[in-house]
Each structure stands twice: as structure tokens, then as C-alpha cells.
Amino acid sequence: MSEALAELSVSLWRGAAAGRYETYVVPRRESQTVLDVVTFVQRHIDPTLSYRFACRVGVCGSCAMTVNGRPRWTCRTHVSKVVAKADGSGRLEIGPLENLAVIKDLTTDMTPFFEKWQEAKGTFAPTKTRHDAIEQIRPDSAARVAADAAIECINCGVCYAGCDTVRWNAEYFGPAALTRAWTLVNDERDGGNTARLQAVAASGGCHACHSHQSCQELCPQTLNPTAAIAGLKRRTAAAYLKGEIKACETKP
């Protein structure tokens, strides 16, 4: 562990929905991440602090929190990036992700986030068995390029927490689930597109998006969910006009 440079005052959300921010003082270190700060508090000051993390290298998507009012992946967010003053005396406020119910402290209930993935038919629908030959997919085909553009999602929930439409419309699937659906819509091996387009064309699906592009701005993987959702809007509109899907007020 590197030598402490100074002290850093950090406010952490404690309790559930009716909690409050409590302030802790931690050593300020070189190359310190926001997750390092939270971990220091839990290990050295208050072991009852609840938070999630696993990989610490930006792969697992479990450590997202609200940092100074903005959802971020904390393991890849340096304190120096979010605290204004170089000496560490600036403000650092860490809370749970928004648009999700708080379980305790910095942990949220991700159940609706993942349930919406399922409702948007975010699971691969195979068309072949193990006895069939492996399908040849050209990596430079337009469909594969579109699928590749969205496939790096780590399910961190940052886009969902930062989405105004999710905040206003509880039934909206959110950017991550729709981006996953867009990946599968463009997967030539998948056979579930009619049901998938039907699901994302219903109320709460892709047409609820206002294209604010917060998801694109906030995505730590620099994905563009707004573009994926726009693609779904075009594909569902075309499928509707061709009579392949119906307009549903409620999710099918």
C-alpha cells in the first residue's frame, strides 16, 4: 500500500431508504480509487458498512455507486478524478445507485434490473443443436458489427441508475436490457427475434426512451445504448408495419 499523502473526508450513505450520509476520514493515497476509500472504511473504521465488489478491475460490474451525484464504477474511478482539489480536501460523497431500492448502505436491490433483462428477452434462443455444423459468421458483416458494438456490457447498472426515463417510468426496461436485446436482434444464430421485438415494442419498451443519451454519457464501457435503442425503434416499427408483431399496451 502506498504511503498516505494526506487525509480525505468522505461521506457515505448509511442505512436503507431512510438513511443519512455519515462522514469518515481516511488516508489519501496515490492512485487511490473510490472503491479503495470504501474498502478502507469497511476494514478499518466500521465493519458493518455494506457494499458490493468482486473483481476490482472493471470486469464484474458489481461495484457501481453514486459518486458525487453521478453513477460510476468505483473500482476504475480514481479519487483524483472526482475530487476537485488536488490535495484531497475536496468533497467526496458516495451513495447507492439511484432508481433501485436501497437494501443497506451502498448496496441496492438489483432484482428489477435483471428481471427486465429477462422481460426484454435478453437470453439467446438457439436454432441449432450440437449435431449441426457451427454457423459461419463473418466478423465484418453489418449485423455482427452491430452486435459487437453492444456486447461488452458488464451489467453494472450505471446506465439504469442515470436514466431519467427509468426514474419517471417504473415499467421502462432501461438501457442495459434494451442494449442486450439489440445485440441478440443482430445475432444471426438467434431464433427468438419475433418474440424479442414483440417484447421491446410494448409499453415500457424501446419506444419509451426519450433519447436523452445519459446512458451513452455515463457508460463506463463507452457503449452507446441510445444508438442500440434507436436501432430497436426502427426494427420494431418495420416489423409492426409488416404485421409481424402487434402493439401491446402491456408487456407480453
Binding site: T165, W168, N169, A201, A202, S203, G205, H207, A208, K233, T236, A237, Y240, L241, I245, A247, C248, E249
Partner: protein, 109 residues
């Protein structure tokens, strides 16, 4: 918003885009020429073209705006989707009645 409402809202928007440009061009033309209300009414009276132009404009605007109002109400008001839909239909009908009445006034009388 489901896909049917989306198609209707985007379709009416696409229809209105050129109509709005023509409408604004006509306003500029009429004001620069110094036309009086009587001058304008003499040109629109009995004109099937202006009746169709503004009739289509009114129908598209009533559909487009009411779908938008429905979205705003369902996101920002306590109304559920069904009540927001009913309110939006009422709003669209009022827009259509007021608009068609105005079209009739400049074309028929």
C-alpha cells in the same frame, strides 16, 4: 408508448415537417405583401387546396400532440396509462374541433 403510438407520432411528425415550412413561408409572404384579413380570406374562400392543406395539418397536429400529451401525463402525473389515454383522446378531439372549425371559417365563409 407502444409501437403503434410511436409509428403514428413519427408518421404525423414527418407529415407536418413540410407543412410547417410551407405554413411559415405563407405567413412571411402574406405579411411582406401587406395582405389584409379580407385579402387572405378572398384567396382561401372556396379553395379545395387550402382546405386540404390545413385539414391534413389539423388532423396530424391533433394526433401528434395528443400522443405527446399522453406520454407526459403517464410519466409526470399520477394518472395511470388508461386515464392518461382517455385525457389525451379528449385533448386531441378538442384540438381537432378547434382546428377544423378554423379551417372551415377561412375556406367556407
Amino acid at each position: 408508448m407502444n409501437v403503434r403510438l410511436y409509428v403514428w407520432q413519427r408518421g404525423t411528425a414527418a407529415l407536418m415537417a413540410p407543412l410547417v415550412l410551407i405554413h411559415i413561408a405563407v405567413i412571411f409572404y402574406a405579411t411582406r405583401q401587406g395582405f389584409s384579413a379580407a385579402d387572405i380570406l378572398s384567396r382561401t374562400h372556396g379553395s379545395l387546396v387550402w382546405a386540404l392543406f390545413y385539414g391534413i395539418f389539423v388532423a396530424a397536429a391533433a394526433i401528434h400532440a395528443s400522443i405527446g400529451v399522453r406520454n407526459i401525463l403517464s410519466e409526470w402525473s399520477p394518472l395511470d396509462a388508461r386515464r392518461a389515454g382517455l385525457f389525451a383522446i379528449g385533448f386531441g378531439l378538442i384540438l381537432a374541433v378547434l382546428g377544423f372549425r378554423a379551417v372551415a371559417a377561412v375556406v367556407l365563409w
